[in-house]
Structures are given as C-alpha cells and as structure tokens.
Subunit: 105 residues, 6 copies
C-alpha cells in the first residue's frame, strides 16, 4: 500500500512521508534517541501499528529490555492505565522481534 501511495499520491502526501522518514535521521540527537522519542509518542497516542514499527527500529538500534521497560514506564505514568493494553501488545511484539532471526522491518 505504501508503494501505491507513493505512486499515486500527490506531492503533499509524498513530502509528508519523506519528512516522516527523515525526522528520525542522526543529528544533534542520535538515531536511537529519536526512535525512542517516536516510540513514546506513539505509545501515549495509542497507535499499535506505529508502536510496532518503532519497537522493531529500537531493537535494530540495540535498545535493551531494561531500557524498553523504563521507556514504557514513562508512557504509562504520563498516559495512564488506558495505555496498558498497548503496553502488553508492545511486549509481545518485542519478544517476537528478539526471537526472529530475520529483520522485522
């Protein structure tokens, strides 16, 4: 569907998708820090697809389980117990990423 969007979508759609990629590029903040920011933002906004994407990216960039738990704690405290079902699904997806030998992205 992304291919279709980039083929058929107009200029605005394409530019927003490009910004959505480049905003996580290494800069004054490291790529790892930015992916963590993307993950906590997606978690408090409660978007499972976005959470999975950033979990997979954080795994690639070497985030440890302890770091994941501390990141999700910030999301849980700021966003409340309404976040818990997304937290559970995020941990299940994290386990899947850890077990997988192939890249998940």
């Amino acid at each position: 569907m992304n291919k279709k969007i980039l083929a058929e979508g107009n200029q605005i759609t394409k530019r927003l998708f490009a910004l959505d990629t480049h905003v996580y590029d290494e800069g004054a903040l490291s790529e790892k820090t930015k992916e963590m920011l993307g993950l906590v933002a997606s978690t408090v906004l409660r978007c499972d697809d976005c959470i999975s994407y950033h979990v997979a990216r954080c795994v690639e960039l070497g985030l440890t389980d302890e770091e994941f738990y501390e990141l999700f704690n910030v999301a849980l405290i700021v966003g409340g117990s309404i976040i818990i079902p997304h937290f559970r699904r995020a941990l299940e997806f994290l386990e899947e990423c850890r077990r997988s030998e192939l890249p998940l992205l």
Copy 2:
C-alpha cells in the same frame, strides 16, 4: 496546591504523585533521556503545563536549542500541525528559561 493535595489527598493520590517523580530518575536510561521522553509525550498530548515543566527540566539538564528543535520536530511530525500552537508557546517558555538567572522550577 501540590502541598494541599499531598496533605489532604489519600494514599492513591500520593502514590501516583510519587511515581510521577521517580519515573524520571536516572536508571538504564539517563535522567536527560527520560525528561526528553516526558517532553515529547506531553507535547503530542498537548498539555502546556506539562510541556513547560519538562522544558525547564531539560534546560537544567543541559539540552541545547538544536536538540530541543529536533525533539519538537518528532512531536510535530507524529502529532501534526495541531501541535504548532503548543510548539510556539514551548519556544517562548524556552527563551524565558534561557534568560532567567534563577531556576524556573
């Protein structure tokens, strides 16, 4: 009002307020990283008071203007243009923090 809450609030209120403080303590992730996570979460959830609090904490912990801009870019891309008015107010408060000789918290 915080003092009143801690004096009159019941156990649950007090424990939640304590968790809200300790979740940002140095751990597997640094205090600075955690405050950045708190700031991006507050920004996409659009709470000006929470944003100001975390901006002041990030200033204390040495975040540079370039780092602030990159953090807010993640919030703007994830959360959209609806974030812009909060972004403007956050930058105004950041300037105020930079000019102030006294701690703002």
Copy 3:
C-alpha cells in the same frame, strides 16, 4: 452565548443541547451518579470548562470532598499524569464552590 446559540442555532444544535441536559436526569441511575460519570468523563478528556460545570453540579448534589478525591483518583489512574494540571484546577474550583454562598451555576 448559550442564549444566542439557542436563538440562532438550527434544529440539530438545539436538540443536541437538549440531550446534553436530559442525559443527566434522574433515572435507573441517580442524578448524582450521572453527574459523577459526567465529571470523570470530562476529566479524562481534559476539558476545564466541562470539569468546572460538573464539579459545581456535584457540589449542589452533596458530593463530599472524600468522594471527589476518590473520583479524581480514578481519572488520574486511567488518564495518567497528563491529568494532573486539570486536577489542580478542579480542586481550586471546588474550594471556590465550597466558599461561595451563592450558587455557582
């Protein structure tokens, strides 16, 4: 402004405003219970004007401070620390209602 809306607004606006009044009428659930439901819903959705309205109604219907604190605790746990600034303003408004000799609504 409400008068103007009811004078100039069309049928749909008027009917929604009427539903918004009658949904809190005594029924299988008491008026007090329904106002508490309205208050917790307004709190987790973080609308200060709506919170103040329901706080004043709950005061009129005899809610005690202890009951207010337990209600807000549910909101704080479900909705997270992002609720805290609204909780503080709600408690300030509650104090004002308690001090006032005239009805606040």
Copy 4:
C-alpha cells in the same frame, strides 16, 4: 446490533442516533460536503469503522480519487503521521468500494 439498540435503547440513545443521521442531510452545505466533513473528522479522531462508513458514503456521492487524496492530506497534515495506518486502511477500503458492484452500505 443497531436494530437491537433502536429496539431496546432508551429515548436518549435513539435521539442521538437520529441526530447522527440527520446532521449529514442536504442543507446550506451539500450532502457531499457534509460527508467529507464527517470523513475528515473521523480520520483525525482515528476511528476505522467511522472512516469506512464515510468513505462508502463519499463514493456513493461521487467523490473522485483525487478529491479523496486531497481530503486525506488535510487529515495527515493536521493530525500527523499517527494517522498513516488509518490512511492506508482507508485507501484499501476505498479500492474495495470501487471494485464492488453492490452498494457497501
């Protein structure tokens, strides 16, 4: 389930469901414009069921693909990249509507 709700639901439920239908009736604004408003509102609030309903209605009312893309661009810019997964599912459902010979509503 809608039938059951209309059979068993009380007056308030029924009246809200009626308002939810009539708010999209032809008026000063055309039915097509109103359905577009409903679609963009559902998209930024990220409700897949509501999005599908309004996509199907907009197809019935003759919205072109180009118009759909421009509408979703507004939603993507206002609401941010958190909207993207819903945008993808909306486009998949739109394709399904275009292929279908039977009405989807």
Copy 5:
C-alpha cells in the same frame, strides 16, 4: 503477559499496576460506583480492552441493563458519535457476559 510483566517489570511498573487495582476498592464511593466511573472513562477514551474489563466487573457487581444503557448514554453525549462503534462492541460483550455461566474475568 500480566504475569510476565509482574515478574520482569521493574518497581514502577508493579506499583502502577497495584494502583490500577486498588483505585477501584470500596471506599467513600462504592466498588460499583467506581467500576462505573472506570467504564465511562474507558468508553470516552475509546479503549475496547478496558471497556470489556469494566463491563465484566460491572456485571459481577450487579449492574442492570437499564443502568448500562444510561451509563453509555452519558459517554455517547459527552464523547459523540465517534463512540458508537465501541458502544456496539460493548453491548455485544455485555450479552456474552449475561449468557456465560462462568465468570469472564
């Protein structure tokens, strides 16, 4: 997954989960009232898993269908028609709870 979280999660996670349980304990407000508050909060925040949990608890505590409908009406009026798909799923789950002879929690 909850077991795993409680085994591996750090202190903050465990404490938040404990608060999330005890906030609904009998107090100045009854357990039933608090579960109703949890249900209306989960409904306006549109979290199906949280809604199902509180529906099952409210069934255990004796909430009648009429009371459920009045509670959901408050959620529908405060939160709007965007709530309707969650309302439908909540009613389906409620029917399942009523039919089940075994506890659903």
Copy 6:
C-alpha cells in the same frame, strides 16, 4: 514567533510549515472546501488557536453563518458535548471577525 521559527528552525520544521500552508491550496477540492475540512478537524481535536485561524480564513472565503452552523453541527455530533466550550468560543470569534473591518489574519 513564526518568523523566529522559520529563521532558526531546521529544514524539517520549515518543510512541515510549508506543507501546512500548501495543503489548503486550490486543487481538485476548492480552497473553501479545504478550509472547512481544516476547521472541522481543528474543532474535533479541540485546538482553539487552530479553530480561530480557520474561522478567519473561512470568513475571508465567504462562508455564511448558516454554513458555519452546519459545519459545527457535524463537529458537535461526531465529537460530542466536550466540543461545546470550543464551539462557544468559535462563535464569539466569528462575531468579532464579522464586525472587524480589517482582515484578522
């Protein structure tokens, strides 16, 4: 502050601000329709600054009071009574725009 952001902000910030302008340009959908989409999106997301901006733009593009009311009705039905305080402030700002002889943007 916008000038400062455009002077000091990095490429990502500037590009997002540019997209936020051009997404409302005349295209398959008219500028007026797009501003109405922006207004309804801002209203259900409850951002007063964004609402005022789009109200002023819609006034410039000739939206009648009757059209404004029908647009806000869609927002009120989709988003619920939590929208009402923003609706009231929007109508006050609309009156101010109508009275003003100078452009408000």
